[in-house]
Amino acid sequence: MDALTQSPSFLYRWTATLDHKKIGILYLWTSLFFFGIGGMEAMLIRIQLAVPGNTLLSPEAYNQIFTMHGTTMIFLVVMPVLIGFANYFVPLMIGARDMAFPRLNAMSYWLFLFGGLLLHFSFFAGGAPAAGWFSYAPLTDTSFSSSQGVDYWVLSLLVLGIGSVSTGINIIVTVLTLRAEGMTMRRLPLFAWMFFINAFLIVLAMPVLNASIVMLLIDRQLDAHFFFPSKGGSAVVWQHFFWMFGHPEVYIMALPAFGMISEIIPVFSRKPIFGYTFIAGSTVAIALLSFGVWAHHMFATGLGTSFNVVFAFGSMLIAIPTGIKIFNWIATMWGGSIRFCTSMCFATAFLVEFVIGGLSGVMFAVVPIDWQVTDSYFVVAHIHYVLFGGTLFAVFGALYYWFPKMSGRMLSEKLGKWHFWLTVIGFNMTFLVQHVLGLIGMPRRVYTYADNPGWALLNQISTLGAFLMFASAIVLIWNLFRSLKYGKPAGDNPWQAWTLEWATSSPPPPENFLRLPPINGRRPLWDLANPDRPDSNFINTGTSEESPRLAKPRLTAALFIASETIFFIALIVAFLVFTFKKDTAGEFAQSSLDPMRTGIFTAILVLSSFTLWLAERGMKRGASGKGWLAATIVLGAIFLGGQAVEYIGLLNNEVTINSSLFATSFFTLTGFHAFHVFLGLVALGVCGFLLIRKKPGGHAALGGVSLYWHFVDIVWLVVFAIVYLKP
């Protein structure tokens, strides 16, 4: 690692880096790049909509542009910029040297870059996706979306999804295993806590997206039947699956922003955060509830009164923990001595903008109102208020707050104020009027509109606002580049802040800290500077003793297993849903299965778990265990062989992935399981290799891989029961 940081080659230092700080900065620059692209797409949209009947963009071009604008901003800008800041600051805030898995961390970044480029390559390969960022079926069927745009959308999201889940696992393991002495879970800075909870959301929600888009790809490329009603599938199931991911996704984009605000407001108000416990607890509440409100995106799809009531209830409930945070932030400002640097200006504006967005969200929870305003510009206004006025304002605040730490220089306050005011005025001008446009009947995703009274004027105001936002972005970029070169030197702690990242140089040395201050509370640097009134006199954050640290390999495996569990649950649910829609072709497919034979192979797989357990037990007692390990691999391979035999039998019987809905879900479910078995065999083989060559880490790795193997076997038992036995 030292050789890397010392390398004279700038390119090598940055492309081969495993340092979380450099990787964080890579994320930030790359997301800025994509922000530029997404922003240009937004400008094109606004210019096209400035006058009715505009011919600047053809409908085909416009539809690609708004799809790419949404996809880019969500997956290539907001998520990565938040992950970038987390990458840089979570290890620092907990007093760690780096992330738990630096190589995995680097891989996540490169997957992000690659995924983003792959998505944009579609422009050159016949057309970008043009079915909206949530790709509703059956519009995404090849007969309606004949270009490969949707396929690029799917593939790039798969790539991005793998990177995101890896980051999620990395953050969780980092926070749970690498905290410095005295940094207990109850003393975590709120940004670290919120990103920690957020990481669970990422790990559990992204697999639902992955399962959905995999099924979409199979539908499109293998002519299968999941989501296309013309072939017996269900378009509504796509919506359920997508929003099952989609709703937690919007909280994935909001929680880190809440964390940033929770860092900025206290520092610039010169007071500790008010109600830490409730902010931390409400974050947990939001994370839990976010999985239970997805169908509020589907109120207008005719789910029935009882379902609508349930989801309306949940959607209203989730407003409460968010509101609690807002009140606590205001209470933090109350009685403070507030310095209105640009960072604090953005954080204050966030409070107002996010509340507007949040309240318009509550309005959507009132179902009859949703029936009028969903899919109109009212919802476009809502999403931009929460994602731009909310998350991006928080990101801007974080940028002005943390830029000095990352670069050693201050951003210009003067340019910052220009950026701030241009943004606030431009943003509100663009999106406030869109509430009205929605209320007077303008639907969303339209490339043009009729010359109805008032529509043109309101659209023009919105477009004018967009130009102001464009100008504000120029100012920001100018500020960034200028300050990198000429900014005032920052010093260690220009804001006199209190969390650990400020207890080291700006930028920090490669190992992050030369010496950590003592950690006895939530604000180590406050305690150091105010020994007469340390936080511990007023608030109890427990002792510095901790519950025992968890073992890294098994924890990591458990998290990975959690994410894969969700993936399989999604596929199993799809299977069950379509089992009830069986037609004659499906009946035939089912009758072609052979439960007896598969039962034998199931027993073999279960046996392989047993031999693996024997291998580990043997190793614990000092024996080599390699024999049992080899047996496990052989048994697993036999299982795969059995699976292959079954597949061949089915194919010979004309039962293919597209012959019926049952066959589609059968092949998808068992196929992915077989793929997991195969990966498990590879992993076991690698462990075997490490053990034979007596390389370090072999035992620990086996500990994790064996959990994975047992998981794969348990999944098979469930699949076997549902697919082969239950009928």
């Binding site: 109850r186 416990t277 931390a280 607890g281 947990v284 509440a285 839990l288 509830l289 239970g292 029935g304 009882s306 379902f307 349930v310 209830f313 949940g314 007023f538 608030i539 109890n540 519950s547 649950i569 649910v573 069950l576 849903v577 009830f580």
Partner: protein, 249 residues
């Protein structure tokens, strides 16, 4: 029959339900005597809910008439009554090991899933003996389930969260299954005698079809149950995080 008549007259006073009620009362009295006065409020609360479940018109409705009532019945017996009992009698220290936690989770989740197996469900709805069995198994499963959360040696809040969240996922899957599936999960309810005055009240008076009944039943399995888990998670988190109220002077 009108709704008012239902509430006043249709109390579930069969021999077995009365016997169960008496047994429950005796058990409560015994427990209070053994464990001390301080357990009385919680145990009496548990007893009241228990009696309400068994003897009130809810008990009647859940015995083959209204599937949603049957679901409420389950929830009260599995999640509410045992919760009060565990809080009152947190239990000794010998039940804190990992196997007991696994048993607790499997009992709680398993009991819910088990009694939704169509043939078992129908049997429990119509056969008094099966019903008594169901009542006892739900109570015991509930007690074992809540022990690791509210008992003497509790799970760490993170563990509690995992435990409850996974239980919530399991009951969500079950609830969604029951609510969405086109077949009848508990045929005894769908096949209830159309001439019974209670059924007439439900179908005509309330306008509640068998399909709608199952849908609501599934939603009850899911939402209230998960809300209970959710509240337990938050309560555990708060008590871990801030053991005492602190205000700066």
């Amino acid at each position: 029959m009108t709704t008012q008549e239902l509430i006043i007259t249709a109390w579930h006073l069969t021999p077995i339900s009365i016997a169960t009620a008496v047994l429950g009362t005796l058990a409560t009295a015994f427990a209070i005597w053994k464990k001390g006065r301080s357990t009385a409020p919680k145990l009496i609360a548990a007893l009241c809910i228990f009696l309400f479940t068994i003897i009130s018109p809810l008990g009647t409705l859940s015995e083959g008439y209204l599937f949603s009532a049957h679901m409420i019945h389950h929830l009260l017996l599995l999640l509410i009554v045992p919760l009060f009992v565990v809080i009152a009698i947190p239990g000794g220290k010998n039940l804190h090991t990992k196997p007991w936690r696994a048993i607790g989770w499997i009992s709680g989740v398993g009991a819910m899933w088990l009694w939704h197996e169509p043939s078992l469900c129908s049997l429990a709805a119509v056969s008094p003996a099966m019903q008594a069995t169901q009542t006892i198994t739900l109570l015991i499963a509930g007690y074992l389930f809540w022990r690791p959360i509210m008992g003497t040696t509790r799970l760490h809040p993170a563990g509690a969260l995992l435990y409850l969240f996974s239980a919530c996922t399991a009951c969500t899957l079950l609830g969604i299954y029951v609510a969405f599936v086109p077949i009848s999960v508990c045929p005894a309810f769908a096949a209830a005698s159309q001439s019974s005055p209670i059924i007439i009240l439900i179908r005509d008076g309330w306008g509640f079809s068998a399909a709608a009944d199952q849908q609501v039943g599934g939603l009850l399995m899911w939402i209230p149950a998960c809300l209970i888990y959710f509240t337990a998670i938050l309560a555990r988190f708060l008590s871990w995080h801030e053991p005492q109220n602190t205000v700066s002077k």
